[in-house]
Protein backbone atom coordinates (compact mmCIF):
# COMPACT_ATOMS: atom_id res chain seq x y z
CA UNK A 1 0.00 0.00 0.00
CA UNK A 2 2.80 2.32 0.98
CA UNK A 3 4.63 1.69 -2.27
CA UNK A 4 1.45 2.39 -4.27
CA UNK A 5 1.06 5.72 -2.50
CA UNK A 6 4.71 6.46 -3.16
CA UNK A 7 4.32 5.74 -6.92
CA UNK A 8 1.15 7.87 -7.08
CA UNK A 9 2.85 10.69 -5.20
CA UNK A 10 5.92 10.52 -7.43
CA UNK A 11 3.71 10.56 -10.54
CA UNK A 12 1.88 13.66 -9.37
CA UNK A 13 5.13 15.43 -8.56
CA UNK A 14 6.68 14.30 -11.83
CA UNK A 15 3.76 15.41 -13.99
CA UNK A 16 3.57 18.72 -12.15
CA UNK A 17 7.27 19.22 -12.81
CA UNK A 18 6.82 18.39 -16.48
CA UNK A 19 3.82 20.65 -16.83
CA UNK A 20 5.55 23.53 -15.12
CA UNK A 21 8.57 23.02 -17.36
CA UNK A 22 6.34 23.14 -20.48
CA UNK A 23 4.69 26.30 -19.28
CA UNK A 24 8.00 27.92 -18.52
CA UNK A 25 9.33 27.07 -21.99
CA UNK A 26 6.32 28.79 -23.52
CA UNK A 27 6.72 31.95 -21.47
CA UNK A 28 10.41 32.26 -22.39
CA UNK A 29 9.56 32.51 -26.16
CA UNK A 30 9.05 35.93 -27.72
CA UNK A 31 5.49 37.09 -27.73
CA UNK A 32 4.37 37.79 -31.36
CA UNK A 33 3.34 41.33 -30.45
CA UNK A 34 6.69 42.03 -28.81
CA UNK A 35 8.34 40.64 -31.92
CA UNK A 36 6.34 42.79 -34.37
CA UNK A 37 6.73 45.87 -32.13
CA UNK A 38 10.49 45.35 -32.13
CA UNK A 39 10.62 44.81 -35.90
CA UNK A 40 8.55 47.94 -36.44
CA UNK A 41 10.79 50.06 -34.24
CA UNK A 42 13.77 49.15 -36.45
CA UNK A 43 11.79 49.69 -39.66
CA UNK A 44 10.44 53.04 -38.52
CA UNK A 45 13.86 54.24 -37.37
CA UNK A 46 15.55 53.29 -40.67
CA UNK A 47 12.70 54.75 -42.68
CA UNK A 48 12.83 58.05 -40.81
CA UNK A 49 16.62 58.27 -41.07
CA UNK A 50 16.53 57.62 -44.84
CA UNK A 51 13.70 60.09 -45.37
CA UNK A 52 15.25 62.89 -43.33
CA UNK A 53 19.01 62.43 -43.75
CA UNK A 54 19.12 61.23 -47.33
CA UNK A 55 16.03 62.44 -49.18
CA UNK A 56 15.20 65.52 -47.10
CA UNK A 57 18.80 66.69 -46.92
CA UNK A 58 20.23 65.78 -50.34
CA UNK A 59 17.17 66.02 -52.58
CA UNK A 60 15.12 68.75 -50.92
CA UNK A 61 17.44 71.00 -48.87
CA UNK A 62 20.83 70.78 -50.57
CA UNK A 63 19.43 69.83 -54.00
CA UNK A 64 22.52 67.72 -54.71
CA UNK A 65 20.63 64.87 -56.34
CA UNK A 66 17.04 64.12 -57.33
CA UNK A 67 14.86 61.44 -55.80
CA UNK A 68 12.64 59.67 -58.31
CA UNK A 69 10.26 56.79 -58.65
CA UNK A 70 12.20 55.96 -61.82
CA UNK A 71 15.54 56.18 -60.06
CA UNK A 72 17.37 53.93 -62.48
CA UNK A 73 16.36 55.87 -65.59
CA UNK A 74 16.72 59.23 -63.88
CA UNK A 75 19.98 58.26 -62.11
CA UNK A 76 18.33 59.44 -58.91
CA UNK A 77 17.80 58.39 -55.31
CA UNK A 78 15.29 55.67 -54.51
CA UNK A 79 12.11 57.06 -52.93
CA UNK A 80 11.60 56.24 -49.22
CA UNK A 81 8.59 54.01 -49.98
CA UNK A 82 10.60 52.11 -52.59
CA UNK A 83 13.52 51.76 -50.18
CA UNK A 84 11.12 50.23 -47.68
CA UNK A 85 9.58 47.86 -50.24
CA UNK A 86 12.91 46.71 -51.66
CA UNK A 87 13.94 45.87 -48.10
CA UNK A 88 10.73 43.87 -47.63
CA UNK A 89 11.37 42.02 -50.91
CA UNK A 90 14.93 41.24 -49.90
CA UNK A 91 13.74 39.87 -46.57
CA UNK A 92 11.24 37.69 -48.46
CA UNK A 93 13.93 36.47 -50.86
CA UNK A 94 16.04 35.39 -47.91
CA UNK A 95 13.15 33.26 -46.64
CA UNK A 96 12.63 35.09 -43.34
CA UNK A 97 9.73 33.72 -41.28
CA UNK A 98 7.96 37.09 -41.17
CA UNK A 99 6.78 39.46 -43.90
CA UNK A 100 5.93 43.14 -44.03
CA UNK A 101 4.27 45.59 -46.39
CA UNK A 102 3.65 49.31 -46.68
CA UNK A 103 0.00 49.95 -47.44
CA UNK A 104 -2.32 52.92 -47.49
CA UNK A 105 -5.97 53.80 -47.77
CA UNK A 106 -4.76 56.39 -50.30
CA UNK A 107 -2.02 54.55 -52.23
CA UNK A 108 -0.21 55.95 -55.25
CA UNK A 109 0.00 52.39 -56.58
CA UNK A 110 -3.39 50.76 -56.29
CA UNK A 111 -1.77 47.40 -55.59
CA UNK A 112 -0.88 48.82 -52.19
CA UNK A 113 -4.37 49.43 -50.90
CA UNK A 114 -5.56 47.15 -48.08
CA UNK A 115 -7.32 44.03 -49.32
CA UNK A 116 -7.61 41.46 -46.51
CA UNK A 117 -10.27 42.05 -43.86
CA UNK A 118 -7.62 42.63 -41.19
CA UNK A 119 -5.72 45.08 -43.42
CA UNK A 120 -8.88 47.10 -44.09
CA UNK A 121 -9.84 47.15 -40.40
CA UNK A 122 -6.27 47.90 -39.28
CA UNK A 123 -5.59 50.71 -41.76
CA UNK A 124 -8.88 52.40 -40.86
CA UNK A 125 -8.19 51.98 -37.13
CA UNK A 126 -4.75 53.58 -37.21
CA UNK A 127 -6.04 56.43 -39.37
CA UNK A 128 -8.89 57.13 -36.95
CA UNK A 129 -6.79 56.61 -33.79
CA UNK A 130 -3.49 58.47 -34.29
CA UNK A 131 -0.63 57.00 -32.28
CA UNK A 132 -2.28 53.63 -31.80
CA UNK A 133 -1.40 50.27 -33.30
CA UNK A 134 -3.74 47.51 -34.41
CA UNK A 135 -3.24 43.79 -33.70
CA UNK A 136 -5.20 40.84 -34.96
CA UNK A 137 -5.02 37.30 -36.31
CA UNK A 138 -5.98 36.09 -39.78
CA UNK A 139 -5.69 33.05 -42.01
CA UNK A 140 -4.22 33.47 -45.49
CA UNK A 141 -3.45 30.65 -47.92
CA UNK A 142 -4.17 28.09 -45.19
CA UNK A 143 -1.66 29.63 -42.74
CA UNK A 144 -2.62 31.47 -39.56
CA UNK A 145 -0.84 34.78 -38.93
CA UNK A 146 -0.45 37.28 -36.13
CA UNK A 147 -0.91 40.54 -38.00
CA UNK A 148 0.11 43.94 -36.65
CA UNK A 149 -0.66 47.26 -38.33
CA UNK A 150 1.41 50.35 -37.39
CA UNK A 151 0.85 53.94 -38.46
CA UNK A 152 3.15 55.32 -41.15
CA UNK A 153 3.41 59.02 -40.49
CA UNK A 154 4.53 61.75 -42.88
CA UNK A 155 7.73 62.68 -41.03
CA UNK A 156 9.22 65.14 -43.51
CA UNK A 157 7.80 67.84 -45.79
CA UNK A 158 9.03 65.77 -48.75
CA UNK A 159 6.63 62.90 -47.90
CA UNK A 160 3.63 65.20 -47.83
CA UNK A 161 4.46 67.36 -50.85
CA UNK A 162 5.34 64.41 -53.12
CA UNK A 163 2.19 62.49 -52.30
CA UNK A 164 -0.01 65.56 -52.61
CA UNK A 165 1.47 66.34 -56.03
CA UNK A 166 1.65 62.81 -57.47
CA UNK A 167 -0.68 62.33 -60.45
CA UNK A 168 -1.81 58.93 -59.16
CA UNK A 169 -2.40 59.97 -55.55
CA UNK A 170 -6.08 59.79 -54.58
CA UNK A 171 -5.50 62.33 -51.80
CA UNK A 172 -3.89 65.73 -52.15
CA UNK A 173 -4.37 67.25 -48.68
CA UNK A 174 -1.89 65.32 -46.51
CA UNK A 175 -0.30 67.33 -43.70
CA UNK A 176 3.03 66.90 -41.91
CA UNK A 177 2.75 64.49 -38.98
CA UNK A 178 -0.42 62.91 -40.34
CA UNK A 179 -0.96 59.16 -40.77
CA UNK A 180 -0.43 58.53 -44.50
CA UNK A 181 -0.48 54.76 -44.46
CA UNK A 182 0.40 51.73 -42.41
CA UNK A 183 3.09 49.12 -42.01
CA UNK A 184 1.62 45.62 -41.88
CA UNK A 185 3.80 42.93 -40.26
CA UNK A 186 2.82 39.26 -40.27
CA UNK A 187 4.21 36.37 -38.29
CA UNK A 188 2.93 32.82 -38.82
CA UNK A 189 1.57 31.34 -35.59
Amino acid sequence: MKSKILVLFSSIIGSAFLLSACGEQKTTGIDPQMMTDSLFSVMEADRTVYTKLIIGRLAKDEKVIKASEHWKDEKALVLPAQMFRYGAERVAEKGAPFSYSLLSLWPVNKQNKPKTEVEIKGLNYIAENPGKNFYSEEELGGVKYFTAVYPDVGVAPACVSCHNKHKDSPRTDFKLGEVMGGVVIRIPI
Binding site: H70, E93, K110, V143, K167
Partner: protein
Amino acid sequence: MSARKHIYWIYWLLITVGIAVYLTMQLLGEDKTVYLPGKTSHGHYQIEMACAACHSDPLGGGEVLQEACMNCHGSELEVADDSHPKSKFTNPRNADRVAKLDARKCVTCHTEHKEEITLAMGVTQPDDVCFKCHQDVAENRPSHEGLEFPTCATAGCHNFHDNRALYEDFLSKHLGEPDVHAMAEVVPLSSVEVYQTISSYPIEQFPIKPLKSNEADQPISVRKDPKIVQDWMDTAHSQSGVNCSACHEQKTEGLDEPVWVDKPSHKVCSTCHTDQTKGFLSGKHGMRLEQNLTPMTPGKARLDMKRTAHGDELSCVSCHSSHRFNTKDAAVEACLSCHDDQHSNSYKDSKHFNLWHKEIRGQAAENTGVSCATCHMPRKEVKHDGMKIIIAEHNQNDNLRPNEKMLRSVCMQCHGLGFSIDALADRELVEKNFSEKPDVHIESLDMVKKRLGLKKDVDGM
Protein backbone atom coordinates in the same frame (compact mmCIF):
# COMPACT_ATOMS: atom_id res chain seq x y z
CA MET B 1 4.87 -24.72 -63.13
CA SER B 2 4.36 -25.89 -66.73
CA ALA B 3 7.16 -25.69 -69.31
CA ARG B 4 5.15 -23.15 -71.32
CA LYS B 5 4.86 -20.88 -68.29
CA HIS B 6 8.63 -21.11 -67.82
CA ILE B 7 9.14 -19.95 -71.39
CA TYR B 8 6.82 -16.99 -70.83
CA TRP B 9 8.82 -16.01 -67.77
CA ILE B 10 12.05 -16.24 -69.77
CA TYR B 11 10.50 -14.07 -72.52
CA TRP B 12 9.35 -11.55 -69.92
CA LEU B 13 12.80 -11.47 -68.36
CA LEU B 14 14.56 -11.05 -71.71
CA ILE B 15 12.20 -8.25 -72.81
CA THR B 16 12.53 -6.47 -69.45
CA VAL B 17 16.32 -6.69 -69.51
CA GLY B 18 16.31 -5.61 -73.15
CA ILE B 19 14.19 -2.55 -72.41
CA ALA B 20 16.34 -1.69 -69.39
CA VAL B 21 19.55 -1.96 -71.43
CA TYR B 22 18.03 0.12 -74.25
CA LEU B 23 16.86 2.86 -71.87
CA THR B 24 20.20 2.92 -70.06
CA MET B 25 22.08 3.24 -73.34
CA GLN B 26 19.77 6.06 -74.41
CA LEU B 27 20.32 7.81 -71.09
CA LEU B 28 24.09 7.55 -71.34
CA GLY B 29 24.24 8.34 -75.06
CA GLU B 30 23.79 11.71 -76.75
CA ASP B 31 20.34 11.00 -78.24
CA LYS B 32 17.84 10.98 -75.37
CA THR B 33 14.75 11.49 -77.55
CA VAL B 34 13.02 8.54 -75.95
CA TYR B 35 12.91 10.45 -72.65
CA LEU B 36 11.27 13.58 -74.06
CA PRO B 37 7.74 13.85 -72.70
CA GLY B 38 6.67 16.12 -75.58
CA LYS B 39 8.00 18.53 -78.19
CA THR B 40 10.33 21.08 -76.61
CA SER B 41 9.65 24.82 -77.12
CA HIS B 42 11.67 26.87 -79.60
CA GLY B 43 13.63 28.40 -76.74
CA HIS B 44 14.97 25.11 -75.43
CA TYR B 45 14.82 22.54 -78.24
CA GLN B 46 18.49 23.01 -79.06
CA ILE B 47 19.52 21.77 -75.63
CA GLU B 48 16.77 19.20 -75.09
CA MET B 49 19.36 16.41 -75.09
CA ALA B 50 21.10 18.04 -72.13
CA CYS B 51 18.31 17.01 -69.75
CA ALA B 52 20.39 17.99 -66.72
CA ALA B 53 20.47 21.62 -67.86
CA CYS B 54 16.97 21.93 -66.33
CA HIS B 55 16.50 18.66 -64.45
CA SER B 56 19.74 19.05 -62.52
CA ASP B 57 18.55 16.73 -59.77
CA PRO B 58 16.45 13.77 -60.98
CA LEU B 59 14.87 13.51 -57.54
CA GLY B 60 14.27 17.24 -57.16
CA GLY B 61 10.89 18.91 -57.47
CA GLY B 62 9.70 22.34 -58.56
CA GLU B 63 12.46 24.15 -56.68
CA VAL B 64 15.10 22.44 -58.83
CA LEU B 65 13.36 23.53 -62.01
CA GLN B 66 12.93 27.06 -60.66
CA GLU B 67 16.62 27.25 -59.87
CA ALA B 68 17.46 26.04 -63.39
CA CYS B 69 15.22 28.75 -64.92
CA MET B 70 16.85 31.43 -62.80
CA ASN B 71 20.37 30.20 -63.51
CA CYS B 72 19.93 31.06 -67.18
CA HIS B 73 17.26 33.79 -67.14
CA GLY B 74 17.67 35.40 -63.69
CA SER B 75 20.12 38.10 -64.69
CA GLU B 76 18.03 38.96 -67.76
CA LEU B 77 14.97 39.47 -65.54
CA GLU B 78 16.97 41.64 -63.17
CA VAL B 79 18.20 43.86 -66.00
CA ALA B 80 14.62 44.09 -67.30
CA ASP B 81 13.32 45.33 -63.89
CA ASP B 82 10.90 42.40 -63.94
CA SER B 83 7.40 43.78 -63.38
CA HIS B 84 6.23 40.54 -61.74
CA PRO B 85 9.16 39.26 -59.65
CA LYS B 86 8.72 36.26 -57.38
CA SER B 87 9.09 38.54 -54.34
CA LYS B 88 5.76 40.21 -55.21
CA PHE B 89 3.96 36.93 -54.70
CA THR B 90 5.64 35.47 -51.64
CA ASN B 91 3.95 37.96 -49.30
CA PRO B 92 0.99 36.20 -47.60
CA ARG B 93 -1.34 39.08 -48.58
CA ASN B 94 -1.08 37.82 -52.15
CA ALA B 95 -2.06 34.24 -51.26
CA ASP B 96 -5.38 34.74 -53.10
CA ARG B 97 -3.51 35.70 -56.26
CA VAL B 98 -1.08 32.81 -55.96
CA ALA B 99 -4.10 30.51 -55.70
CA LYS B 100 -5.29 31.82 -59.08
CA LEU B 101 -1.87 31.95 -60.75
CA ASP B 102 1.24 30.79 -58.93
CA ALA B 103 3.56 33.45 -60.34
CA ARG B 104 6.28 32.40 -57.89
CA LYS B 105 7.26 29.68 -60.35
CA CYS B 106 8.31 30.24 -63.96
CA VAL B 107 6.74 26.92 -65.04
CA THR B 108 3.26 28.16 -64.14
CA CYS B 109 3.31 30.19 -67.36
CA HIS B 110 6.16 28.47 -69.22
CA THR B 111 5.42 24.76 -69.00
CA GLU B 112 7.94 22.90 -71.14
CA HIS B 113 7.27 19.95 -73.49
CA LYS B 114 3.60 20.96 -74.00
CA GLU B 115 3.48 21.89 -77.65
CA GLU B 116 -0.32 21.76 -77.81
CA ILE B 117 -0.67 24.71 -75.39
CA THR B 118 2.56 26.59 -76.11
CA LEU B 119 2.11 30.09 -77.53
CA ALA B 120 4.70 32.67 -78.57
CA MET B 121 7.68 33.07 -76.20
CA GLY B 122 7.03 29.65 -74.69
CA VAL B 123 3.97 30.93 -72.81
CA THR B 124 1.50 28.21 -71.85
CA GLN B 125 -1.19 30.42 -70.31
CA PRO B 126 -4.12 31.79 -72.30
CA ASP B 127 -3.76 35.33 -73.74
CA ASP B 128 -6.23 36.74 -71.22
CA VAL B 129 -4.25 35.61 -68.16
CA CYS B 130 -3.91 39.26 -67.00
CA PHE B 131 -7.60 39.17 -66.13
CA LYS B 132 -6.93 36.97 -63.12
CA CYS B 133 -5.44 39.86 -61.13
CA HIS B 134 -6.19 43.04 -63.10
CA GLN B 135 -9.90 42.70 -63.80
CA ASP B 136 -10.57 46.07 -62.12
CA VAL B 137 -8.05 48.01 -64.23
CA ALA B 138 -10.73 50.30 -65.73
CA GLU B 139 -11.58 51.67 -62.26
CA ASN B 140 -8.34 53.67 -62.24
CA ARG B 141 -7.78 53.79 -65.99
CA PRO B 142 -11.07 54.75 -67.65
CA SER B 143 -9.27 54.62 -71.01
CA HIS B 144 -9.06 50.83 -70.55
CA GLU B 145 -12.83 50.41 -70.22
CA GLY B 146 -14.03 47.76 -72.65
CA LEU B 147 -10.55 46.67 -73.74
CA GLU B 148 -10.34 42.91 -74.00
CA PHE B 149 -7.81 41.16 -71.78
CA PRO B 150 -6.10 39.21 -74.61
CA THR B 151 -5.00 42.63 -75.93
CA CYS B 152 -2.97 43.65 -72.84
CA ALA B 153 0.20 41.97 -74.04
CA THR B 154 -0.56 41.50 -77.70
CA ALA B 155 -1.22 45.10 -78.67
CA GLY B 156 2.22 46.54 -77.99
CA CYS B 157 1.13 48.04 -74.66
CA HIS B 158 2.27 45.79 -71.80
CA ASN B 159 4.60 42.89 -71.15
CA PHE B 160 4.53 40.57 -68.16
CA HIS B 161 8.23 40.98 -67.38
CA ASP B 162 9.85 43.82 -69.32
CA ASN B 163 8.07 47.17 -69.39
CA ARG B 164 11.12 49.41 -69.41
CA ALA B 165 9.94 51.22 -72.54
CA LEU B 166 6.22 50.93 -71.89
CA TYR B 167 5.56 52.45 -68.47
CA GLU B 168 3.40 55.55 -68.36
CA ASP B 169 6.01 58.09 -67.28
CA PHE B 170 8.42 56.85 -69.94
CA LEU B 171 5.73 57.21 -72.59
CA SER B 172 4.89 60.71 -71.37
CA LYS B 173 8.55 61.72 -71.50
CA HIS B 174 8.72 60.73 -75.15
CA LEU B 175 5.45 62.22 -76.41
CA GLY B 176 5.59 64.07 -79.70
CA GLU B 177 8.93 62.75 -80.92
CA PRO B 178 9.64 62.75 -84.66
CA ASP B 179 9.65 59.51 -86.66
CA VAL B 180 13.40 59.86 -87.16
CA HIS B 181 15.72 61.89 -84.92
CA ALA B 182 17.96 64.52 -86.53
CA MET B 183 21.00 62.74 -85.07
CA ALA B 184 20.32 59.14 -86.06
CA GLU B 185 23.32 57.05 -85.09
CA VAL B 186 24.29 54.35 -82.65
CA VAL B 187 26.82 54.75 -79.87
CA PRO B 188 30.36 53.81 -81.00
CA LEU B 189 32.03 50.68 -79.65
CA SER B 190 34.84 51.24 -77.15
CA SER B 191 38.25 51.08 -78.76
CA VAL B 192 40.57 48.10 -78.45
CA GLU B 193 42.89 50.28 -76.37
CA VAL B 194 40.14 50.85 -73.79
CA TYR B 195 39.33 47.15 -73.60
CA GLN B 196 42.98 46.36 -73.01
CA THR B 197 43.07 48.50 -69.90
CA ILE B 198 40.61 46.38 -67.90
CA SER B 199 42.09 44.15 -65.24
CA SER B 200 40.70 40.91 -66.73
CA TYR B 201 42.53 41.50 -70.04
CA PRO B 202 45.58 39.14 -70.06
CA ILE B 203 48.07 41.92 -70.62
CA GLU B 204 50.96 39.93 -69.11
CA GLN B 205 50.29 37.05 -71.50
CA PHE B 206 49.95 39.35 -74.50
CA PRO B 207 51.83 42.61 -73.92
CA ILE B 208 50.72 45.33 -76.30
CA LYS B 209 53.29 45.37 -79.08
CA PRO B 210 52.63 45.85 -82.80
CA LEU B 211 53.99 42.82 -84.68
CA LYS B 212 55.44 42.66 -88.18
CA SER B 213 54.59 39.98 -90.72
CA ASN B 214 57.99 38.30 -90.34
CA GLU B 215 57.31 37.93 -86.62
CA ALA B 216 54.37 35.52 -87.15
CA ASP B 217 55.35 32.62 -84.90
CA GLN B 218 53.61 29.60 -86.38
CA PRO B 219 55.85 26.49 -86.09
CA ILE B 220 57.85 25.24 -89.06
CA SER B 221 55.53 22.25 -89.32
CA VAL B 222 52.66 24.58 -90.22
CA ARG B 223 52.66 25.98 -93.75
CA LYS B 224 52.97 29.75 -93.88
CA ASP B 225 50.10 31.08 -95.95
CA PRO B 226 50.85 34.67 -97.12
CA LYS B 227 47.13 35.42 -97.34
CA ILE B 228 46.57 34.37 -93.74
CA VAL B 229 49.54 36.44 -92.61
CA GLN B 230 48.20 39.45 -94.51
CA ASP B 231 44.72 38.97 -93.00
CA TRP B 232 46.31 38.80 -89.54
CA MET B 233 48.38 41.91 -90.24
CA ASP B 234 45.20 43.83 -91.06
CA THR B 235 43.62 43.08 -87.68
CA ALA B 236 43.94 44.50 -84.19
CA HIS B 237 45.44 41.15 -83.19
CA SER B 238 48.77 41.82 -84.91
CA GLN B 239 48.74 45.40 -83.59
CA SER B 240 48.14 44.22 -80.03
CA GLY B 241 50.86 41.58 -79.74
CA VAL B 242 48.46 38.66 -80.32
CA ASN B 243 50.62 36.29 -82.37
CA CYS B 244 49.65 32.98 -84.07
CA SER B 245 50.63 31.04 -80.96
CA ALA B 246 48.27 33.08 -78.79
CA CYS B 247 45.27 31.35 -80.35
CA HIS B 248 46.68 28.19 -81.92
CA GLU B 249 48.96 26.90 -79.18
CA GLN B 250 47.31 25.27 -76.21
CA LYS B 251 48.79 23.75 -73.11
CA THR B 252 47.94 20.09 -72.65
CA GLU B 253 48.15 18.19 -69.40
CA GLY B 254 51.19 15.93 -69.25
CA LEU B 255 53.05 17.70 -72.05
CA ASP B 256 55.75 20.32 -71.48
CA GLU B 257 55.38 21.95 -74.86
CA PRO B 258 52.09 23.49 -75.97
CA VAL B 259 50.26 21.72 -78.79
CA TRP B 260 49.34 23.45 -82.08
CA VAL B 261 45.58 23.45 -82.71
CA ASP B 262 44.44 24.23 -86.27
CA LYS B 263 40.93 25.28 -85.33
CA PRO B 264 40.82 26.79 -81.84
CA SER B 265 37.46 26.81 -80.08
CA HIS B 266 35.45 29.72 -78.62
CA LYS B 267 37.25 29.10 -75.32
CA VAL B 268 40.39 30.61 -76.82
CA CYS B 269 38.50 33.73 -77.93
CA SER B 270 37.05 34.10 -74.44
CA THR B 271 40.56 34.63 -73.04
CA CYS B 272 40.33 38.26 -74.18
CA HIS B 273 36.74 38.61 -75.47
CA THR B 274 35.05 37.41 -72.29
CA ASP B 275 31.84 39.45 -72.47
CA GLN B 276 31.29 38.67 -76.13
CA THR B 277 31.80 34.92 -75.67
CA LYS B 278 29.46 34.90 -72.71
CA GLY B 279 26.77 36.52 -74.86
CA PHE B 280 27.41 34.09 -77.73
CA LEU B 281 27.01 31.09 -75.40
CA SER B 282 23.75 32.50 -73.99
CA GLY B 283 22.04 32.85 -77.38
CA LYS B 284 20.84 30.38 -79.97
CA HIS B 285 24.15 30.40 -81.82
CA GLY B 286 26.16 29.10 -78.88
CA MET B 287 23.77 27.61 -76.31
CA ARG B 288 24.56 24.04 -77.38
CA LEU B 289 28.27 24.62 -76.78
CA GLU B 290 27.46 26.00 -73.33
CA GLN B 291 25.82 22.65 -72.52
CA ASN B 292 28.78 20.68 -73.91
CA LEU B 293 26.73 19.46 -76.86
CA THR B 294 27.94 19.42 -80.47
CA PRO B 295 27.84 22.90 -82.05
CA MET B 296 24.62 24.27 -83.51
CA THR B 297 24.26 23.97 -87.28
CA PRO B 298 21.73 25.84 -89.45
CA GLY B 299 20.38 22.42 -90.45
CA LYS B 300 19.16 21.93 -86.87
CA ALA B 301 17.33 25.29 -86.79
CA ARG B 302 13.54 25.62 -86.79
CA LEU B 303 13.78 28.85 -88.80
CA ASP B 304 14.34 28.81 -92.55
CA MET B 305 18.03 28.49 -93.34
CA LYS B 306 19.93 28.29 -96.63
CA ARG B 307 20.51 24.68 -97.67
CA THR B 308 24.12 25.46 -98.55
CA ALA B 309 24.78 26.30 -94.89
CA HIS B 310 22.95 23.39 -93.28
CA GLY B 311 26.06 21.54 -92.19
CA ASP B 312 28.14 24.51 -90.95
CA GLU B 313 29.03 24.28 -87.27
CA LEU B 314 28.62 27.56 -85.40
CA SER B 315 31.52 29.05 -83.48
CA CYS B 316 33.01 32.55 -83.20
CA VAL B 317 34.73 32.23 -86.57
CA SER B 318 31.49 31.22 -88.36
CA CYS B 319 30.58 34.92 -88.38
CA HIS B 320 33.96 36.52 -87.76
CA SER B 321 35.91 34.40 -90.29
CA SER B 322 39.28 33.35 -88.90
CA HIS B 323 42.29 35.66 -89.28
CA ARG B 324 40.32 38.50 -90.91
CA PHE B 325 37.80 39.04 -88.12
CA ASN B 326 36.00 41.64 -90.18
CA THR B 327 33.20 43.00 -88.01
CA LYS B 328 31.45 44.65 -90.99
CA ASP B 329 31.11 41.28 -92.74
CA ALA B 330 30.04 39.68 -89.50
CA ALA B 331 27.30 42.30 -89.12
CA VAL B 332 25.43 41.48 -92.37
CA GLU B 333 26.95 39.00 -94.83
CA ALA B 334 27.59 36.36 -92.17
CA CYS B 335 23.91 36.46 -91.10
CA LEU B 336 22.60 36.32 -94.65
CA SER B 337 24.82 33.37 -95.54
CA CYS B 338 22.57 31.21 -93.30
CA HIS B 339 19.24 32.95 -92.59
CA ASP B 340 16.67 32.45 -95.35
CA ASP B 341 13.39 33.83 -93.97
CA GLN B 342 11.35 36.73 -95.38
CA HIS B 343 12.62 39.26 -92.82
CA SER B 344 16.27 38.46 -93.61
CA ASN B 345 15.74 38.27 -97.36
CA SER B 346 13.95 41.64 -97.37
CA TYR B 347 16.78 43.45 -95.59
CA LYS B 348 18.66 44.50 -98.70
CA ASP B 349 15.54 46.27 -100.00
CA SER B 350 15.20 48.34 -96.83
CA LYS B 351 16.21 51.88 -95.96
CA HIS B 352 18.25 50.42 -93.14
CA PHE B 353 20.45 48.56 -95.62
CA ASN B 354 20.73 51.68 -97.74
CA LEU B 355 22.25 53.50 -94.78
CA TRP B 356 24.55 50.56 -94.05
CA HIS B 357 25.66 50.38 -97.67
CA LYS B 358 26.58 54.06 -97.56
CA GLU B 359 28.52 53.60 -94.34
CA ILE B 360 30.62 50.66 -95.53
CA ARG B 361 31.35 52.47 -98.82
CA GLY B 362 32.58 55.44 -96.83
CA GLN B 363 29.77 57.70 -98.11
CA ALA B 364 28.26 58.18 -94.66
CA ALA B 365 29.66 58.56 -91.15
CA GLU B 366 30.56 55.59 -88.96
CA ASN B 367 27.66 54.26 -86.86
CA THR B 368 24.97 55.73 -89.10
CA GLY B 369 24.27 52.53 -91.03
CA VAL B 370 21.84 49.87 -89.81
CA SER B 371 23.09 46.32 -90.20
CA CYS B 372 21.53 43.07 -88.95
CA ALA B 373 23.81 43.39 -85.92
CA THR B 374 22.74 46.98 -85.22
CA CYS B 375 19.32 45.68 -84.19
CA HIS B 376 20.00 42.09 -83.16
CA MET B 377 23.36 42.60 -81.47
CA PRO B 378 23.00 46.16 -80.17
CA ARG B 379 25.70 48.12 -78.45
CA LYS B 380 25.50 47.86 -74.69
CA GLU B 381 27.31 49.24 -71.70
CA VAL B 382 29.24 46.89 -69.42
CA LYS B 383 31.26 47.87 -66.39
CA HIS B 384 34.79 46.71 -65.68
CA ASP B 385 36.80 48.10 -62.78
CA GLY B 386 34.19 50.86 -62.47
CA MET B 387 34.82 51.85 -66.09
CA LYS B 388 32.00 51.92 -68.66
CA ILE B 389 32.78 50.03 -71.84
CA ILE B 390 30.58 49.76 -74.93
CA ILE B 391 30.51 46.33 -76.54
CA ALA B 392 28.20 44.51 -78.96
CA GLU B 393 25.68 42.21 -77.26
CA HIS B 394 26.59 38.79 -78.67
CA ASN B 395 23.39 37.10 -77.51
CA GLN B 396 21.28 37.93 -80.55
CA ASN B 397 18.21 36.51 -78.81
CA ASP B 398 18.46 38.89 -75.87
CA ASN B 399 16.11 41.54 -77.29
CA LEU B 400 14.16 39.44 -79.77
CA ARG B 401 10.94 38.57 -77.94
CA PRO B 402 8.78 40.33 -77.04
CA ASN B 403 10.06 42.72 -79.67
CA GLU B 404 9.31 45.78 -77.48
CA LYS B 405 12.58 44.86 -75.78
CA MET B 406 14.22 46.49 -78.80
CA LEU B 407 12.61 49.87 -78.23
CA ARG B 408 15.18 51.41 -75.92
CA SER B 409 18.33 49.56 -76.88
CA VAL B 410 17.76 49.75 -80.64
CA CYS B 411 14.86 51.64 -82.24
CA MET B 412 14.98 54.74 -80.05
CA GLN B 413 18.62 55.34 -80.91
CA CYS B 414 17.30 56.75 -84.20
CA HIS B 415 13.48 56.85 -84.05
CA GLY B 416 10.82 58.45 -81.87
CA LEU B 417 9.06 56.19 -79.35
CA GLY B 418 5.59 56.39 -80.92
CA PHE B 419 6.89 55.54 -84.39
CA SER B 420 8.97 52.67 -82.96
CA ILE B 421 6.07 51.12 -81.03
CA ASP B 422 3.87 51.26 -84.14
CA ALA B 423 6.58 49.76 -86.35
CA LEU B 424 7.25 46.84 -84.02
CA ALA B 425 3.53 46.14 -83.69
CA ASP B 426 3.10 45.94 -87.47
CA ARG B 427 3.84 42.24 -88.02
CA GLU B 428 3.70 42.53 -91.81
CA LEU B 429 6.15 45.39 -91.76
CA VAL B 430 8.53 43.37 -89.59
CA GLU B 431 8.41 40.58 -92.17
CA LYS B 432 9.18 43.14 -94.89
CA ASN B 433 12.10 44.37 -92.80
CA PHE B 434 10.70 47.88 -92.26
CA SER B 435 10.72 48.76 -95.94
CA GLU B 436 7.93 51.34 -95.50
CA LYS B 437 6.07 53.29 -92.78
CA PRO B 438 4.01 51.39 -90.18
CA ASP B 439 0.42 50.68 -91.03
CA VAL B 440 -0.54 49.97 -87.42
CA HIS B 441 -1.14 52.52 -84.67
CA ILE B 442 -0.87 51.70 -80.98
CA GLU B 443 -2.92 54.01 -78.79
CA SER B 444 -0.83 53.91 -75.61
CA LEU B 445 0.79 57.31 -76.19
CA ASP B 446 -2.57 58.86 -77.08
CA MET B 447 -4.00 57.51 -73.84
CA VAL B 448 -1.16 59.03 -71.83
CA LYS B 449 -1.57 62.36 -73.60
CA LYS B 450 -5.28 62.37 -72.88
CA ARG B 451 -4.79 61.39 -69.23
CA LEU B 452 -2.15 64.07 -68.62
CA GLY B 453 -4.39 66.66 -70.27
CA LEU B 454 -7.32 65.68 -68.10
CA LYS B 455 -5.17 65.73 -64.96
CA LYS B 456 -3.92 69.19 -65.85
CA ASP B 457 -7.52 70.40 -66.14
CA VAL B 458 -8.34 68.92 -62.74
CA ASP B 459 -5.26 70.52 -61.14
CA GLY B 460 -6.14 73.85 -62.68
CA MET B 461 -9.59 73.85 -61.08
